[in-house]
């Protein structure tokens, strides 16, 4: 392992440790976060997905 790779590995391990001590999230919290995010996205999605996608036609460019 080169010195740079060594440093990188050390850095990553340190970061991971910090993350573990800071977070108290279990799998359930993570799932809830994802649900919240998807709900927020649901609220901004274009109405009528099928229609919007069907109408999305672009002329060539470049």
């Amino acid at each position: 392992m080169t010195e740079r790779e060594q440093k990188r590995t050390e850095k990553r391990e340190t970061e991971e440790v910090v993350e573990e001590t800071q977070t108290t999230e279990g799998p359930q919290d993570v799932a809830e976060k994802i649900d919240d995010l998807l709900e927020e996205i649901d609220s901004v999605l274009e109405e009528n997905a099928e229609e919007f996608v069907k109408n999305y036609v672009q002329k060539g460019g470049e």
Binding site: R4, R8, I34, D35, L37, L38, E40, I41, V44, L45, E46, A49, E50, F52, V53, N55, Y56, V57, Q58, K59, G60, G61, E62
Partner: protein, 495 residues
């Protein structure tokens, strides 16, 4: 021959549509958008005197039939940040100002999203009740139509074009693992897949060529230096996706720039030639596990990640022996990090690569809503990922939720919307637009034409991309109150 400083600029053709009016003419819609930009700008003629998109870098002459249809007499503005914002075919296009390094190029690319978002917002009053513009920073409509996102790199004219073909092709094919913006399905007759890494790979059909709209080549030979043609090439890279992720853009632009410098300096020892570059292009894009062995021309196989690992090692070694702008160390760290993470778990790059972020989102939706890959809702999610409007765009939502890393603060982006880069000729262009916009009648990448009220128009050539910088011309610009005094001062001072 030796490497020259890599001045970098991006061009983005945005997808455009009108909510509430699906048949709205896209050329008209694009014109309305460009016309509606109310920021710092000068609405002027774009001069094609020095442009020759039909000229071929392999030495062929201009071919008939390629020149028309470029200008079209449509709307063209030059912005206070030095960019060009105009209607190209049926799309609004933002051509970013020349940047000094990859970090600055990524910043001015992001500024373009803000420009087009504001322009679309400004166009609201011109549309009927119930209509609104939607702008996507993507490259495909999912129905076989692709539009471009091009990168430009200043290259030493002395480098034989054949060496670019030999040493850069495999890099471009394999970099797709970190340059893709992700796409549902396949197009252009390629084999069916549920999802792939890039928007563009399906459309590439040649190894080398001049075309950009059909039979697209991996290496594009357009020979328009936009600078001193005896010293420079502008390598026009058309095989890339428009990226919304800032980190991804930095890796994409920075890795290409450093590899090009290494090629100029003869520091790429092996061409790593692929047996079938065109087939490998879509094969890499279709390979979500990143394990597909690609056939090498010299025999044997290697995966895209293995080949990228070779380029990274050469780039690191090259950087150790070369004096590069500071941001290249960040490029190398990010490049190394993304290759390692793609190797360990491709989806772990969802915090910085558009394709992985989009794929992760689609997987989450499939799980929650039990959707098939061809569900309209997934198609909408994949499309809306690219909406540039922060209120609607899903890339923006993922950034807000902390799922995608940023490189730039909103204040830095805002400055790039209004102010030009300081270390290239874009500085002179941008400041001239802001200060003498009323006297500017035409512009080009390598010249400005002023009407200062005298008998003749005055053309100021800017054939050197690294002159016209803040250091060289801010004094002149600060002390000249109008175009006439600027031109007088320029006459006395050859910078």
């Amino acid at each position: 021959m030796s490497a020259i400083h890599k001045v970098i600029g991006t061009e983005t053709e945005f997808g455009i549509s009108v909510r509430g009016a699906p048949d709205f003419n896209p050329v008209l819609a694009s014109s309305i958008v460009v016309n509606s930009y109310a920021g710092l700008r000068a609405k002027i003629k774009w001069s094609h005197e020095e442009e020759s998109p039909g000229r071929d870098a392999r030495g062929f002459g201009p071919e008939g039939g390629l020149m028309p249809d470029i200008d079209g007499g449509l709307v063209n503005v030059v912005l206070g940040n030095g960019a060009r914002f105009y209607v190209d075919h049926a799309h609004p296009e933002y051509s970013a100002p020349e940047a000094f390094d990859p970090l600055e190029a990524a910043l001015y690319d992001k500024a373009g999203e803000v420009v087009v978002t504001r322009a679309a917002e400004g166009a609201r009053t011109l549309l009927e009740e119930g209509q609104s513009l939607v702008i996507h920073k993507n490259n495909s409509d999912g129905k076989g139509n692709s539009y471009g996102s091009h990168e430009n790199y200043l290259v030493n004219r002395e480098l034989p074009f054949g060496e670019i073909v030999d040493f850069f092709t495999t890099f471009l094919v394999t970099r797709q693992v970190f340059t893709g913006s992700g796409k549902l399905g396949s197009e252009n007759g390629r084999q069916t897949v549920p999802f792939q890494l890039t928007q563009r790979a399906d459309f590439f059909e040649e190894e080398v060529g001049l075309e950009t709209t059909l039979k697209r080549p991996i290496i594009n030979t357009r020979d328009e230096p936009h600078g001193d043609p005896t010293k420079y090439r502008r390598l026009h890279v058309i095989i890339g996706d428009a990226n919304m992720s800032e980190v991804q853009n930095l890796i994409k632009l920075g890795s290409a720039a450093i590899i090009l410098m290494a090629i100029e300096d003869g520091a790429i020892p092996d061409s790593l030639r692929l047996a079938n570059p065109v087939d490998s292009t879509w094969q890499v894009s279709h390979d979500l596990d990143l394990t597909k062995p690609l056939e090498l021309a010299e025999g044997g196989t290697a995966t895209a990640l293995e080949l990228q690992g070779r380029y990274l090692e050469w780039a690191k070694k090259y950087a150790e022996n070369t004096d590069l702008p500071e941001s290249y160390s960040q490029v190398l760290t990010e490049w190394e990090g993304v290759l390692a993470d793609l190797e360990a778990d491709p989806l772990s790059t969802a915090d910085r690569l558009d394709w992985a972020a989009k794929y992760r989102l689609l997987l989450d939706y499939r799980e929650r809503d039990d959707l098939e890959w061809d569900a309209p809702k997934l198609k909408l999610l994949a499309l809306q990922y690219h909406d540039v409007d922060p209120a609607k765009g899903l890339h923006h939502k993922l950034v807000e939720a902390g799922r995608i890393r940023r490189l730039f603060t909103p204040a830095e982006v805002e400055q790039a919307v209004n102010e030009p880069p300081e270390r290239t000729r874009a500085y002179f262009r941008g400041r001239s637009v802001s200060k003498y916009g009323d006297s500017l009648v035409a512009a080009n990448w390598d010249s400005l034409v002023f009407d200062s009220g005298e008998d003749t128009l005055k053309r100021v050539p800017m054939m050197e991309p690294l002159r016209g910088t803040k250091e060289l011309v801010s004094g002149l610009l600060d002390s000249s109150d109008d175009a006439a005094s600027l031109l007088r001062a320029l006459g006395e001072n050859d910078d």
